[in-house]
């Protein structure tokens, strides 16, 4: 039986970059998975992933999240936004050499109607200043199949060297 979890593309940064983009994503899979290990130049502990599909800057994005910081749990939501988020990863005030981790699942990415997605991000740093963990449910209501995905830091300017992003395709055909 052939495996259905296939690496489409990867980017491991050799130098800082303002964003990471996977483009020309083939329409040959059913679902997409993104796995990232990232740290930004933000002068703080917690960084966010700002995501766009297909360079779409219309208000086609929404999401809600559940987060904990080592002591309290909370929830928030945003509607009719021009970018999607995934939460959280490490900024540059986090413990040296620590990178946060993210996994996103995007089903039916070739659909042209509403597409849900999930993300789970963590930023543990072994520091007294607590790192963040978040589970996020997102929705993209653009009307084109997803053929590109970009990730930019929302608080900082650049992803730092050694940040890595992997895009996988899963087929149920």
């Amino acid at each position: 039986m052939a495996s259905t979890y296939t690496l489409i593309s990867s980017q491991v940064l050799a130098s800082s970059a303002s964003s990471v983009t996977f483009s020309a994503i083939p329409a040959t899979y059913t679902d997409l998975v993104v796995r990232a290990s990232a740290r930004s130049d933000f002068a703080g502990n917690d960084e966010i992933f700002v995501i766009r599909y297909n360079s779409d800057s219309a208000a086609n994005y929404s999401f809600r999240y559940l987060q904990v910081n080592g002591s309290t749990a909370g929830s928030g939501a945003f509607s009719n936004r021009t970018t999607e988020w995934a939460l959280y990863t490490n900024g540059n005030s986090a413990t040296s050499n620590t990178f946060g981790n993210l996994e996103m699942y995007i089903p039916n990415y070739t659909s042209t109607s509403s597409r849900p997605y999930s993300s789970f991000g963590v930023g543990e740093t072994n520091a007294s200043s607590p790192a963040m963990i978040a589970v996020l449910a997102g929705l993209y209501q653009g009307t084109s199949a997803i053929s590109s995905i970009s990730f930019a830091p929302g608080n900082g300017t650049n992803w730092l060297s050694a940040s890595s992003f992997y895009l996988y395709g899963i087929s149920n055909a």
Binding site: F63, Y65, S75, A77, F120, L139
Partner: protein, 167 residues
Amino acid sequence: MATATYDKIATTTLGSAASSITFSSIAASWTDLRLVLVATATGAGVNVDITFNSDTATNYSQTNLYGNGTAAASANATARANVEITWSTGTSTTIPSLYEIDVFSYASATYKTLLATSSQDRNGSGDTEKTVGLWRSTAAITSIRINSAASTYATGTTATLYGIKAA
């Protein structure tokens, strides 16, 4: 390098509304199972619940953690007849919800644990939820039923079962 081991076992896309989706005759060929459900409902109140091997006795328990965009909360239930992975919000009639269910060591002779993620953003409502469930049975899982507590899953709802092998 180890051989890749993420295999599609079966997939179902509903051609008409149905109150449940069942995967049966699941071989013991893998280590873990992953079920991905992308669903809409024909009416209000479709909560997604899971049973194994047609067991509807009170052999299940669960703990849920969820956030609706305003507040975070948690719930626990014991001696249930299923594991319900939509404790907070049911499936929408218009916007697809994403459910990811991982079942660990499904063919083992120990009790079985599942971990589920429910993602239901509707651009102004919905929630995100994590559920840990337990099935107190030592039998290998050979079938999984995804049931709706009310109404039915709509046409186009898709469920896919994957097998993940560790060795």
